[in-house]
């Protein structure tokens, strides 16, 4: 599981009748979604339409007002915790200012049980080889996002929940993101991304929040 050899993910995500609420504001009502391995879904919608809340609900951080989110595997053990099969990339980057980048990624590798030897390779994949020994505080916003992507690759989970993944990335970074998304989908991974611009390099199913079809009162 921790090897570098690509393997196939086979996790399915099913959302039925989901209601999401922030305070007294109902963001999403009766939301349904089924994702099979290889699906790429771009969540679009105006600011405040509940894209982030939906991602956080799937990750298990936010408790939905109603509805059911089911993660299932066709073979192997039952999924007990969402964290077993999904990675979350939020709009904050969990990068500490006073720690070397390489140490931070080694920490994430330890935490999710990935092989430490993969850390340098993964940093190379996201183009951060030169920055490996820099302190987190000196990284630019784009470099921090690349580091977060490296964490995603280390964790090697089936479902990627991405909140505005492309926003601080440069052209080259967006191309890289496209490649990573494409590879992940080809391995049977599921990608749900909250975006304002189309996802780079891949064709995604677009889902609009904040419209009548999605059951959202604008």
């Amino acid at each position: 599981m921790t090897g570098a050899r690509p393997h196939q993910h086979d996790v399915r995500l099913q959302i039925a009748g989901l209601d999401l609420q922030r305070g007294f504001r109902r963001l999403v009502t009766g939301f349904d979604l089924t994702c099979a391995p290889g699906d790429i879904i771009a969540l679009q919608g105006p600011n405040g339409s509940g894209k982030t809340t939906l991602l956080r609900a799937i990750a298990g951080f936010h408790t939905a007002a109603a509805g059911r989110i089911t993660l299932s595997r066709t073979q192997g053990a039952q999924i007990e915790e969402a964290g077993e099969v999904l990675s979350f990339l939020g709009h904050q980057d969990p990068i500490k200012a006073g720690e070397k980048l390489i140490d931070q990624l080694c920490f994430w590798a330890d935490l999710c049980g990935a092989n430490r030897e993969r850390v340098r390779d993964t940093l190379a994949r996201v183009g951060l080889t030169k920055q490996a020994d820099l302190q987190g505080g000196v990284l630019s916003a784009g470099q921090r996002k690349r580091a977060a992507l490296a964490r995603l690759l280390l964790e090697d989970r089936a479902i990627w929940l991405l909140d505005e993944p492309a926003s601080p990335l440069d052209q080259e970074g967006r191309a890289l993101l496209g490649t990573l998304l494409d590879q992940h989908a080809k391995q049977g991974g599921i990608i749900l991304a909250a975006v304002h611009d189309p996802l780079p390099g891949v064709s995604a199913r677009v889902l609009n929040l904040g419209t009548v079809e999605s059951g959202v009162a604008a």
């Binding site: 951080f61 964290g83 969990p94 990068i95 500490k96 200012a97 006073g98 140490d103 302190q135």
Partner: protein, 225 residues
Amino acid sequence: MSLARACLAILTREVRLGWGAGGGALLSASFFAGSVMVAPFALGPAPDTLGKIGPGYLWLALTLASLVSLERLFQADLEDGTLDQMLLSPVPPSLQVLCKILGQWLATAVPLLVISPIAALLVRVEPAVILPLCLQLAVGSLGLFLIGAIGAALGASVRRGGLLVALVVLPLYAPSVIFGASAAAALATGGDFLSQPFLFLCALVLAALAFAPVAAAAAVRLHVD
């Protein structure tokens, strides 16, 4: 195996971040040293008064110094999204919280305890009593950090939440301080190291070791929503 590796990683990272740039691991120790240093000026250097107050004063200084480091225990992780990621990891949240507290204790309380014998000399504690007294402070500080973590977790999402954390935590500190100071007073009057108040303090620390991580993890979970 991988659980032990993850726990060790959390613990060592907490120490590394504490001692790294802007970590503030020495804040508690310097607060402790400062408050002990002004004691002879404020209370008068006379051996009979200061010697009597000294052991209890060390407990007072320890209690307040441990509050200083609490505010940031979970707040930094909540702000930069580290907590989200930690909740997704396969390690149970209460275990992660326990490792974080132990790491914080190693980074923050150990320097404080290292200087505590000198602090004890400054407040005129009998030289023969200094070592057992400092050992009791060490046990007590672990309890204070564990209990304090509950307050730190509750106040994590409050900006400048130090006041709130102190308000939540100080009443919870009371039993530990009462038993700790009584144990110190017993030592100063020629009592045993394993006096009854100290055994009560040990029991409190053990109970905190069992319950505080669970309570703090539940409180942290609230902020992530």
